[in-house]
Assembly symmetry: C2
Homo-oligomer: 425 residues x 2
Amino acid sequence: MTDTGISESIKNQVLELGRNARKASRALMGWTADEKNRALNAMADALEHNTPQIQKANSADVTEARENGLTDAMVDRLVLNDDRMAAMIRGLRDIAELPDPVGRVLKSWEKENGLLLKKIAVPIGVIGMIYESRPNVTADAAALCLKASNAIILRGGSEALRSNQAIAEALQKGGRGAGLPEHAIQLVPVRDREAVHALITMDKYVDVIIPRGGEGLIRAVAENATVPVLKHYEGICHVYVDGTADPVKAWSIVENAKCQRPGVCNAAETLLVDSGLDADWLVKMADILEARGVELRGDDRARNIVDSMKPATEKDWRTEYLDLILSVRVVDGIEQAVEHINTYGSGHSDAIVTDDPEKQDYFGRMVDSAAVYINTSTRFTDGAEFGMGAEIGISTDRLHARGPVALEELTTYKYVVTGDGQIKE
Amino acid sequence: MTDTGISESIKNQVLELGRNARKASRALMGWTADEKNRALNAMADALEHNTPQIQKANSADVTEARENGLTDAMVDRLVLNDDRMAAMIRGLRDIAELPDPVGRVLKSWEKENGLLLKKIAVPIGVIGMIYESRPNVTADAAALCLKASNAIILRGGSEALRSNQAIAEALQKGGRGAGLPEHAIQLVPVRDREAVHALITMDKYVDVIIPRGGEGLIRAVAENATVPVLKHYEGICHVYVDGTADPVKAWSIVENAKCQRPGVCNAAETLLVDSGLDADWLVKMADILEARGVELRGDDRARNIVDSMKPATEKDWRTEYLDLILSVRVVDGIEQAVEHINTYGSGHSDAIVTDDPEKQDYFGRMVDSAAVYINTSTRFTDGAEFGMGAEIGISTDRLHARGPVALEELTTYKYVVTGDGQIKE
């Protein structure tokens, strides 16, 4: 992805998408909540009416994916069966029901000179969404961005291009009927990877890039983008069980954080156990986890208590398993636990189990992560669980948005200052 | 500034600054408001006590700058006379008086499952500040970052290195006495430009880069950084005088926006006049401005009314004069005015003068700028004028911070979720 590799024609094609998106985003600044919700419902209707065409396009993608030897898991992610179509359509109608994130007065105050200042939530502008495989992201992301009055340029996985095109066409058709600006929703129409480079360096027309997918994709985008990126690298999440923990709650929280859905980013990867805790607690914890099929990898002190554990290496502390594997370390108290989390963690979601209010405060303040949990499971980091409605992703960045990126996070703000002729002295 | 040009030793030196800054930033997460304010006052004391050494170092910089043929304006920016020293010291004490931006509960809510969610303002972490000339920025930026519990790595102009070093040493000495973590405030100790490249690509240890200076500097930083950048390109600010404007207020607002301090980013560069406004208004406006020494450059319709105007070219609409020059265009109503502003402006500060509430609303909603003014001057875009206290800069970006970047903008947030054993179903 270097400048020299970009064919001018692809670059110009993407620039044209950008120019048009900027124009559409300006028009969307004048859109009301009702207008947006009407468009969202019209888009859902259009997906419904165009289901046969969308599934036909999807079949072609799936066939080609199989021919190209994609893994079963990848092919599965690609498939748009009836349930997934229905969920996608329902998603759009749900987003229409959510409150409008634009126009909220975030703050309002008057100065001694009589100036009235308002800090108001406004759309970000143009959002570039880069994603892999799952074609439903096309509809989900377009709907969330539109609800926040943003224009979107979508760039899905090349293996899903036909599906994404069919979905985008249906969304555009539905939107058009509801008066949506023509280029509010656009899909990069070519498979070439050069198009991605053009998209992520088009600062003039794109305000933020949201990549969703494997670490390789995200790293490539982050390293080459000149447009700001809202990203999520990985979720190396911890549960620390303090000596003051309620043992029963601790068993249940660790089991939930590891086993309830091990393949997701907010599942726990490392258990930190206070050396002050009764050794029996860890023995029983290991029984529970091993009964659920979890492979345990411990440091020397943990293996002294549970000898069925494999040895953990330095690499384990840095690994997002996304699988039924848990690394276990015995630490000497909360400070060492926090030090471990801030050293090896990914700033995603980390939990403590303790009944001591001082330790709760300390952990809440000192753990440098997007979401910190006290006596509950890391698995709650999610826009819907937080009560934000659907999310477009989870940010492990620090600027603009941290944690779930939902509708409010798809807005920025401006100041509107009203006076009566005031001038600066 | 390419990878190949970086000497390994400079890169390692900067990496060491980064590692140490990260450690200091983690320690600062535990600091209270009182501790920070005590450190800020101790730093002010140290600047006071070290004034002779600082001014001696400054004299050496000034002498070298003169020998190197820097312009008088550049040399003037460099000089630390008694007044400027006093202002710098007072600045630190003022920052100590401001409310703590860290720990604010931005939002708090309970879910049906009993989880208590709090969205809490926390430090960003490590801030890299890159600036030119004025050595007072060393103290101002360090103090603002510390007040928000951030560690800072400072990289000033090479022509001010001795001054910056003397100031940083005094700040560190004062801070040390108040228990400040050793590497909370660090200055890049070398002049080599390679150090800048190392700083802006050190994602692991630096969370945001704030560049302050000429457009060349900012563009180079933005293009080469992999760390997120909070930047301010230029201020091409407009005043639009609608046909419904109070003529007297309009004269006064335009005069103020252009003339009160023409060299700053929130001064007006373009006047847009509604063709519906009485032609006499523009004649009188031109008299007022010309009496203040302003050169007017108009489009054909403006020159038909005021024939002393020079012709404006396309380039004028895109130019930040920072001088007593104003471009003038006659437009057909508010929509054309907004179109002009969104096309040629820099998203900084733009004003309308009108008594029509509908036009006020339209302008406030449709102008895509950080600050939009209704019946008042663009010159108010400033942290202090907005009531935020001192500012570290003004952002024309859209993400994270827009407009004045003051203490609250130097924080991010995290979620602290407290439960009683809840697990995800």
